[in-house]
Amino acid sequence: MSDLLVDVRDLVVDFPVGGPGAYVRAVDGVSFTMGPGHALGIVGESGSGKSTVAAALLGLHRGTGTRLGGTVRVAGTDVGGASAAELRRLRGATAAMVFQDPLSSLDPYYAVGDQIAEVYRVHAAVSRRAARARAVSVLDRVGIPDAVRRSRARPHEFSGGMRQRALIAMALVCEPRLLIADEPTTALDVTVQAQILDLLHGLRREEGLGLLLVTHDVGVAAESVDELLVMRDGHAVERGPVAEVLAGPADPYTRALLAAVPRLDAPRKPRPSRETATTAAGVAGVAGGDGAEVPVVEALGLRREFGRGKRRVTAVGGVSLAVRAGETLGVVGESGSGKSTLGRMLVGLLEPSSGRVRHAGDEARGIPAGVQMVFQDPVSSLNPRRSVGESIADPLRAAGERDEAAIRARALALLERVGLEPGHYDRYPHEFSGGQRQRVGIARALAPRPRLIVCDEPVSALDVTTQAQVTALLAELQQELGIALVFIAHDLAVVRQVSDRVAVMRSGEIVEEGPVDEVYDRPAHPYTRQLLDAVPVLDPELAAARRHRAVGPS
C-alpha cells in the first residue's frame, strides 16, 4: 500500500450550485492507483470530471463548500485528513499540478521568474537570488527562449504557449515526486509539445517522477503514459495499459473516442469547393482586379512590436494575408510566433505598429462591425460575474435585439449546439470545466452571425468527439452564412480538417502559405516539415521509437 504514489478510492465530488442543498455530481465513485515513476493518462469527454479528480489529489476542494466522498492518498498522505501544514508540504513539493487554464493561472502583477522563485522558496531554504537562478534554469528547460530576460516579463507579455510552459516550469521547480498535469500542452505547437513530453519522459526515467496526465489528445497520451483511464460522466469507464486500450477498446465510449481522433494523414472531408490558393502576393490582383470578390479581411504588411528599447519584442513582423467569405485560413506555427497578436490585429483589438488591415476593402478604424474572436484563454475572456448565458446573449443584445424570449432561445440553442446543456445558461464561468468554457466562448462568437471569426485555439481543450462536433458546427455555419474563418491552432490534424488554406508562422512571419493539402503533402519550408514530423502518433511503440531517435543519442 505505502509504496503507492497515488491511491484513490471511491472518490465522489459534488459541487454546490445555486440554492442550499443543490449539488452537481462531478465525480462519481472513481478509484485508481498509481505507483512511483509510473504514468497514468486520464482521457475522456470534456466535463467528465478529469480536472476535478486531479484537483482532489491535492486537496484543492477542501473547505470550499464542495462535498467529498471516498479517500485520496498521495505519497502516503491522507489528503482528506491532513493538517493544513501537511497539505502545504504536499502541495508543490511532493505533488505539483499544472493547471488546465494556464493563461490566467499566473499572477498578472509579478514577473514570471519571481513567481516561480517564490514557489521554490516556499519549499526550499534558499536565497532569493538562488531561487531566481533556479527559476531561470527551469524556464530554460521548458524551452522559453532567452530565459534570463524573459523571466523578468509579466504574464501578459507572454504568449499562451509560453505561459503554459512557465506553469510547467513552476510545477517542476521543486522536483516533485508526482506531477499532475491537466492538459499541459494545449497551447503548445507540436514541436514544443514533443520537447515537453520528452522532458517529462526524461524526468520519469531519471528521477522516478510519477505522472498523472489529463489530456484529451489521445496521441499525447499514447506517447507519454503507461496506463490509460477513460472517464465519462464522472465515472471511470475503462482502465488498462495504454497499448491495450488503444488497440482494443472495450467500452463503446472508448471506441467512439478513438474513432473520432482526427488523423493527419486522413483524407480531408470534402469541403464546399472554393477558389483556393490566394497567396499573399495574389491578394492585390484579386481584390483590385476584374470584379473578383473583395476579401472579408485583408492584412497588408502588418507589424507589431511590444516594449521599448532593450525590452522590445517584434511579435509580428510584416504579415500580409487575405481571407474571403466562406473561406477558412488555418494558422499554425511555433508558440510565440505571433499568431494571437496577428489575430487580435485582424479584429481590431490591437493597433498594428505599422501596416494596414482592410475589412471588405475598407481601411478599418477601431473595431469593425461583424467580427468576432474566440480567445485563446477561455477563462479571462468570460466575465466571471455574468452567467455564461448572459455572455452568449450579450452580442445579440448589443446588436439591438430586444425580444428577451428570442434572445434566450437563441442562446440556449447555441449552448446546445456546442454540446452544453440548456441548464448551464445560468451558471457562472467558474462552474465549468475547461472544455466547457471554451465552448461557451465559441457559442458567444457565433451568436451575432459575424462575417469574420478569428478562432485562437478554439478546440484545444476539447476531447476529440466534442472537437469534431464543434468543427462540424463551424463548417456548417460557415457554409450557411459565408463566414470567413481564421483558425489558429497547433493541432495540425484539426487544421487540415477545417482549413482551405494554411499559413505557417515562425518568429512573427509567415514562412509558408498555401492550400492546405499542398502544404501538408508537399511542405516547402523546412520548418513546416519539422512541424509535421513532430505530430504525435497514436501508436505508443512508434512514439517510443521516435523518442529514442530524438533523445537517445544524447
Binding site: M373, S380, R385, S391, A398
Partner: protein, 327 residues
C-alpha cells in the same frame, strides 16, 4: 441541423424559475445572517425616522421644547439628574443648556441624517462612477477632460462652495434636499478617482475586449462588464461615505447651508456635544452610538452585498476559508 440560428424551444425543465443573476445574488445574500441583521437594523432606523412624529407623540415630548427647569443654569446648563437627565418623561435625557428632549431630537435628527447620508452617498457614487468610467473609457480628450474636472472638484474646498451656495440658493429651497445636492454634487472626486484607477486595470481584460468585439457601446460595456467588478470597492467606499457625509452635513449646518434650526441632525448634535463629553457623556454617546450603529449596519450590509454579488464567492471554491486553513 440548420435550424441553429432560429429560436429553439426552450428545453423543458432546464431552468429553475427566477434563476437570473439578481435572484441568485439575493439568494446568496439571504444566506448571510449578519447582512440580513444589518439590513434589518437599517430598515428599523429608517422606520423610526419616518415614524418620528408618531413616536414623539407617544413619548409626549416636543423635540424643540425648551425645559429650563431640567437644567442646572448655574453650572452651564448641565441636565439635572443622572445620566443626562433620564426620566419617565425624557427617556434618553435632555440636552444641556436648553433641556430639549433627546429621544425625540434623535428621532427627528435621524430623518435629516439618514436622508443626507443616503441621498448624498447615492449621488456621490453615481457621479463618481460615471466620471471615473468616462475618464478611463472615454476617448483621449474626454478622458483627460473628466480627469481634470475631477481634479478641480477634489481641490475646491467644500467650504468655499458652501459659502457661495448660501448666497445663490433661495432661502425657501428645502434644506435637506439642498444638503443632499450640495454634498453629492461637490464631493465625488474620491469615488471617481478610484473607479478610474480600477477601470484602467480592468479595461484591457479579455472579457472586456470580447464585449467590445460584440459591438457593445462603451456605455454598455461599462454597465455590464465593468460595473460588477467595480462594485466591491465602490460599495465599500460608499459605506464609508455615510458617516463622512453626516459629519459634513453638520459642518455645513454651522455655515448656514445645513438644516435650519431648531431641526436637529445627528451630526449637529454630535459636534455641539463635543465639549460635553466629560460633563454630560450621555449627550455625546447617544448620537455617536447611533452613528456607529448606522455605519456598522451599512458596512456589514455592504460587505454582504459585495460578497453576494461575486458568484465565485458563493461556492468559495477559490477563496478558501478559515476551515481549510485550520483543518
Amino acid at each position: 441541423m440548420t435550424v441553429l440560428l432560429e429560436p429553439a424551444a426552450p428545453a423543458p425543465g432546464a431552468l429553475a424559475p427566477g434563476a437570473g443573476p439578481a435572484p441568485r445574488a439575493w439568494r446568496r445574500l439571504r444566506r448571510r445572517p449578519a447582512a440580513l441583521l444589518a439590513g434589518g437594523a437599517l430598515a428599523l432606523l429608517v422606520l423610526l425616522a419616518l415614524a418620528a412624529p408618531l413616536l414623539a407623540q407617544l413619548s409626549g415630548q416636543d423635540p424643540n421644547a425648551y425645559h429650563d427647569d431640567l437644567v442646572d443654569s448655574a453650572r452651564g446648563g448641565v441636565p439635572l439628574g443622572s445620566f443626562g437627565g433620564i426620566s419617565g418623561d425624557h427617556w434618553l435625557g435632555v440636552e444641556p443648556g436648553t433641556g430639549r428632549d433627546l429621544f425625540t431630537r434623535l428621532l427627528y435628527g435621524a430623518r435629516v441624517s439618514l436622508l443626507v447620508a443616503l441621498g448624498a452617498t447615492v449621488l456621490q457614487v453615481l457621479l463618481g462612477v460615471v466620471a471615473g468610467l468616462t475618464a478611463a473609457l472615454g476617448n483621449r480628450l474626454l478622458g483627460r477632460l473628466i480627469a481634470r474636472v475631477t481634479d478641480v472638484m477634489i481641490a475646491l474646498p467644500l467650504l468655499v462652495l458652501a459659502i457661495a451656495l448660501t448666497a445663490v440658493v433661495p432661502p425657501d429651497f428645502p434644506r435637506p434636499l439642498l444638503l443632499v445636492l450640495a454634498i453629492g454634487i461637490l464631493d465625488w472626486g474620491g469615488v471617481a478617482r478610484m473607479v478610474r484607477a480600477q477601470t484602467l486595470s480592468l479595461r484591457g481584460l479579455d472579457f472586456v475586449e470580447a464585449a467590445r468585439l460584440s459591438g457593445n457601446s462603451t456605455l454598455r460595456i461599462a454597465r455590464r462588464e465593468l460595473l460588477p467588478s467595480l462594485a466591491a470597492p465602490v460599495i465599500t467606499l460608499a459605506a464609508l461615505k455615510v458617516p463622512t457625509n453626516m459629519v459634513i452635513e453638520a459642518s455645513l449646518s454651522f455655515l448656514g447651508v445645513g438644516v435650519k434650526p431648531p431641526t436637529p441632525s445627528w451630526g449637529q448634535m454630535l459636534s455641539g456635544a463635543q465639549t460635553w463629553f466629560r460633563a454630560d457623556p450621555a449627550y455625546v454617546l447617544l448620537p455617536a452610538g447611533l452613528l456607529f450603529v448606522t455605519v456598522l449596519a451599512f458596512t456589514v450590509l455592504g460587505d454582504g452585498v459585495r460578497t453576494a454579488l461575486d458568484p465565485r464567492a458563493g461556492s468559495r471554491l477559490r477563496v478558501g476559508t478559515r476551515k481549510e486553513r485550520t483543518a
